[in-house]
Symmetry: C6
Subunit: 100 residues, 6 copies
């Protein structure tokens, strides 16, 4: 599992993420303070997306790689503190390993 946080993402970076997000293009990605990126296996990313979505003050998108059928990264948008909190929660819950 890999984690990165980008503070004050540049317009081109947001455009790159916008072109690759899984939800409809008509749903905009606004200019957020920060974007957190989490990359890993499909099963873990669905799990992480659920954790992030239940955290406060962030928006979660799944980001495609180049093969259209590919999901390996999620992006978490919000203010810096909220994104950091969401990433910390994902990291803690995924570290705990298989939950079944």
């Amino acid at each position: 599992m890999d984690y990165r946080i980008i503070k004050s993402p540049s317009p081109g970076t947001l455009a790159l993420l916008l072109r690759r997000k899984g939800s409809a293009p008509s749903i905009p990605i606004e200019n957020y303070d920060a974007v957190g990126l989490v990359q890993g296996r499909l099963i873990d990313m669905v799990f992480a997306a659920d954790i992030a979505e239940k955290a406060a003050g962030v928006v979660v998108e799944d980001i495609k790689g180049h093969c259209p059928q590919n999901l390996i990264m999620i992006a978490i948008f919000g203010d810096t503190a909220a994104v950091e909190a969401a990433l910390q929660e994902i990291r803690a819950k995924l570290k705990a390993g298989d939950n079944f």
Copy 2:
């Protein structure tokens, strides 16, 4: 073989799974109590889907999103107890190894 269970999946998580399920988009994924995820090789996932489908009270979908081509994921929707029972049955039968 990897297993995860998500209790009270968030709307965004269900939407993510909905966009990637193999059956027709017109067949809705309802709001279920829980979703179980199983990830593994294509041949094992077809086998696991059959086990889950024969279990009581769950709906099974195959989820797209992997290119390492013999790896896919299935999602099992239902109430928490039913999903857990289905996952346990899959785990037991797949542990038993090659059935031919």
Copy 3:
């Protein structure tokens, strides 16, 4: 090379295979007693499909993974005895290794 046999496949399992078979969707997969699955390298799967097709009483389909250009699994439909016989023949002939 991996082998599995599913007896009395569930309707959802047959639907999953139907959505992924290589031949035209208009050719139906009927309700067969059993389905045998063989997963392996492309070159071996073409070879195995030929062995199975020459066996009695089975129908052979190639099953796609998620990348549309991907063939790594074949499904062999028929009554249980015929499917088992076809799988046994594939296993015997593929074990014999490179035939050239």
Copy 4:
């Protein structure tokens, strides 16, 4: 590099190859006595296709079906002796290694 030869290929096997060949679908694959299969890296398969095409009495097709992207397969159609001769020539010339 993997080699296989299928003698008297079944109609289903020919149909499977027909659905996956690289040239226009309007160019038919006739009922040949034998089909030779060679699987390997893209660069070697272009080289092998050229060797086979220059051999007598065979038709060469590239067959889709692998995503590990530098791996493809070619099929060589003809009577058994011609296919075997083409496979032998490919094997000999590819064994000789890098020609540059």
Copy 5:
């Protein structure tokens, strides 16, 4: 992470990159003095694109062409000094490792 710099890229090289860039084809790639290439994992490339975009005097594009799905490439266009500065900044910041 791999880095390369091409000085005075040839028209064919620019055309190759143009055909594979992620942004709309209508946005032209002009004739720049140099193009820097960085190849790595998806999560790192988004991060690197943001670093490059915040650098002065360069234009950043993501370039398609890999299926190993967490691997992508970005191209950084500009005059030689600006491209080198952007590559140096990416290398320094990525060396620092996980920023979360």
Copy 6:
């Protein structure tokens, strides 16, 4: 990095390359004396394409594998001496390793 050279490529080999080249299908591949093939990582192939394009008397094409987003091979068309010279220059410059 893999290199091969095909002298007097057969029409089928040229057709195979034609179907897979990255530039518009309307741009023909003529009958050249020789074709050089270079296979490697995306970043190196862009670099190699630039080296070849700047060499005299050759035409360079990027050749797709089966995944449409895939670039791993370039083909260099020209008379035998020019193709050999271009391959030698690529090999020398790529051996020199990372140029940044």
